[in-house]
Symmetry: C2
Subunit: 215 residues, 2 copies
DNA sequence: TCTCGCTTGTGAAAGGTAGCACAAGAAGAT
DNA sequence: ATCTTCTTGTGCTACCTTTCACAAGCGAGA
């Protein structure tokens, strides 16, 4: 397992898992690479290639055992343990995340929330008490938090992320519209709604332009 | 401009634009491909390659005019017009999106919101009245809505998206954790927080495993 | 036991994307 | 006017990702 697995492969694995969990809940026993591909928007060959990087989990002529493959993928992705998460910035996005019930169900426990706004501090948001930033270090250590979600305004994002990493965070999920500079050991993913919307605009505009040419 | 531009290129263009807007606000006049690369997490060659697909916007020896390049990118991405957006599903995510002030600033007007929940209908959320689903078709037409944001529970997502498309939407931003099946002409982007968190877990777990091997 | 139908796992080929390296060009100094 | 310095735009190369195609393997049925 020394090989470097590409980001796109990991993303697909996560999609397969999402699908497998649904199938498992529906008590389906077996699934083929073709079925899995159709319901996750890829090809059967791609599914098999992706899985083959980690071993062979299927039975030829049959397909994959749903529960078995789910468990395998959970192990591969590192989801056999629970992960402790903190939210930095309890504005609209932060609040929405704190109330997002699926986290618990998927193995993520949001155990802390921080904000600088005096009027927010001490409040209870979806069962989590909002703490002042100065308590960040002790809380990260005590609660063994390894993932920080940055939901601060853009100006505060870099500092918040740096501080979280210094306090022990090993991964950052960034909702602020800025590229965070992080040391190589820290995993970062960015979520920016505007970026996605702009991407959609390009596609729509291009599609329109293409039809214009045809006509 | 007949060439097919890859998704990753479009994503980067959007990042360049995000950065250029900041630089423009700071009244910087000129930016080099190297500077742009550093602040968006790519390489100078990549920036130049990306831009070269659409023309040559820079001056050799100097760099790119900030305002000029910003405008050029806005044109390329189709952001010289305003886009009308509807939110389907006014739960936690939907509400957070309705209150997200940056949309207006970036050219997106959220002009409608829909929900099936009786207790939500008629309410005013961040200046938008929540409408019942049965008004979807007329509102989409009257308001000329071209982008639908799906923020419903997962069970309702596919139907909501289908209905939006039939009513005239040409692009879907999907927050529900499911792969939407759409006809080829419709642009879809997916945002799934859990998916991103799982990706981070893989990276953290792998990094941990890698260090274990070294030691 | 043998055959048939089906699906996996994988080497090889194709297709794309990113990086390198340098000629072309622009501005300012001498 | 020439030289120096800097940065763009781009052909070429290297790498990486996806797709193809088929042998290997499994189970069911005769």
């Amino acid at each position: 397992m020394a090989r470097k697995i590409s980001d796109s492969t990991v993303r697909r694995l996560s999609r397969y898992l999402r699908r497998l969990r649904t199938l498992d809940r529906q008590e389906l026993k077996v699934v083929s690479s073709r079925e899995l591909a159709e319901s996750t928007g890829t090809t059967a060959a791609q599914v098999r290639k992706d899985l083959s990087h980690f071993g062979s989990f299927g039975k030829r002529g049959q397909g994959y055992g749903v529960t078995d493959l789910r468990v395998q993928l959970e192990e591969i992705l590192g989801l056999t343990r629970r992960w402790r998460v903190a939210v930095l910035g309890v504005g609209r996005i932060g609040s929405a995340l704190l109330g997002y019930g699926f986290f618990t169900q998927r193995g993520f426990d949001v155990v802390a929330a921080f904000d600088t706004d005096r009027s927010m501090i001490g409040r209870d948001v979806a069962g989590v008490r909002v703490q002042p930033l100065k308590e960040l270090e002790t809380t990260f250590e005590e609660q063994e938090i390894s993932i920080a979600i940055i939901a601060t305004p853009v100006e505060a994002a870099q500092k918040a992320a740096d501080r979280a990493v210094r306090a022990g965070a090993r991964a950052i999920l960034n909702f602020a519209p800025i590229k965070l500079r992080m040391s190589p050991g820290v995993a970062v993913r960015e979520m920016d709604v505007t970026l996605e919307l702009e991407g959609l605009c390009y596609l729509v505009t291009e599609a329109g332009a293409a039809t214009d040419v045809k006509e």
